[in-house]
């Protein structure tokens, strides 16, 4: 299988490559349009800041390329946020694949620390990348901005308020959490994505 990872100015790309490696898949890290289009699956990971990352994607034409991909695409963390319409982080215009804004967490109590960091449970729709998920599972999150629950929510988590831990629309899948850092549960999710 031919898996491409979108190469751009974001952190944590290597942890995704490592996680795929543990599943026996060697991924191609590329920002080349042809290579991205030809791949069986594309992963769009990322840790970083929304507005500067969007600027980079636009400057390298990657915004259009990602939007036009027809094969299964998985956005991770910042990747999910950038697939939305806009983000309160740096007031960024994003890719608009999911027509929902990205908002900043607004803590209500002292215990509600931001970033939301650590292991929290997801309740999933049991489909797609969550195939055969029949009970809440723990996955690893690190984020200060969130996607509200919306028509495309595929998994939700409650922290400060219920939010979208995962989105799905057509060929586009996304997770706010890091499957590549979520132990055995994360491996199941990545494996499900590879099997789509």
């Amino acid at each position: 299988m031919n898996i491409a990872i979108v190469k751009y100015n974001a952190g944590n790309i290597h942890s995704v490559i490592n996680a795929l490696g543990r599943l026996g898949v060697k991924a191609l890290l590329t920002d080349n349009e042809e290579e991205l289009r030809r791949a069986d699956k594309v992963i769009f990971p990322g840790v970083g800041e929304a507005s500067t990352t969007m600027e980079y994607l636009r400057a390298h034409n990657l915004d259009r390329i990602i939007r036009d991909l027809k094969q299964p695409v998985l956005g991770i963390c910042l990747g999910q946020q950038l697939m939305c319409s806009r983000s309160e982080e740096g007031n960024a215009e994003c890719l608009g694949i999911f027509d929902v804004p990205v908002l900043k967490f607004n803590p209500q109590r002292h215990e509600d620390k931001v970033p939301h960091m650590g292991w929290n449970t997801i309740e999933t729709d049991g489909k797609g990348i969550f195939k055969e998920f029949d009970k809440p599972e723990y996955v690893y999150f690190v984020h200060s901005f969130y996607v509200p629950v919306c028509d495309w929510t595929a998994a939700r988590t409650d922290y400060i308020l219920p939010f979208s831990a995962s989105l799905h629309k057509d060929n586009f899948y996304a997770t706010q959490f890091h499957p590549e850092k979520s132990g055995g549960t994360g491996e199941r999710i990545l494996k499900n994505f590879l099997d789509i």
Binding site: G11, S15, V114, G118, W119, N120, Y140, K181
Partner: protein, 251 residues
Amino acid sequence: MLAKRIIPCLDICNGRTVKGTNFVNLRDAGDPVELGRLYSEQGADELTFLDITASFEGRKTFTELVERIAANISIPFTVGGGIHELKDVERLLKAGADKVSVNSAAIKNPHLIDEIALNFGSQVCVAAIDAKQTDEGWRCFLNGGRVPTDRMLFEWAHEAQERGAGEILFTSMDHDGVKQGFANEALRHLSDELSIPVIASGGAGAKEHFRDAFTEGHADAALAASVFHFGEIPIPELKQYLCDLKIPIRI
């Protein structure tokens, strides 16, 4: 609900895992990658690798070891020891570390925390603080507890947070290696004052000590070394115990 984290700490010396009592008399406890993978399989929520000789002898943390850990382990891990400047942080993150912890270098040059947060985000910056109770209160120490500083624990932790640290790793030098429990009073004070997560370190000897760090100390995570390395407290047993007490734990 956000789970309380259990974090085995692997102290690294010459690429091997070690742990001493009160930071001296080091004992060998195995290969870091094998041990890390074992902990990950047993349900550890994160791992911390501290190059304990680095800051004393001025050595850099071993990048190759970090690369091997990153390739083999599917949970987040933190690397500390020997981080003096932004270049060290960049090298370790590139090798695959998720977070770096800074200790002595940050006390000597607090601006390092600002730089890490600005360049890589607060989530990668763990401010590690070694402190000891003195007549004037909790005082910060350098170089694995060898050198006292003019910094006090609570004001330094607060400053680290303001500068952009994403977490505080607080080790009580009085409790470390003694296995009589964590410094829960100081922990609670830190947790209740700060808006970032606090990791308890130093003093774990029994399952009840972890319970107390969470319920009395209000810690977000608890870190320990020897009780895990020598199999005194198996992680699955510890997590089941905490879960049975209705403490939010990932099983």
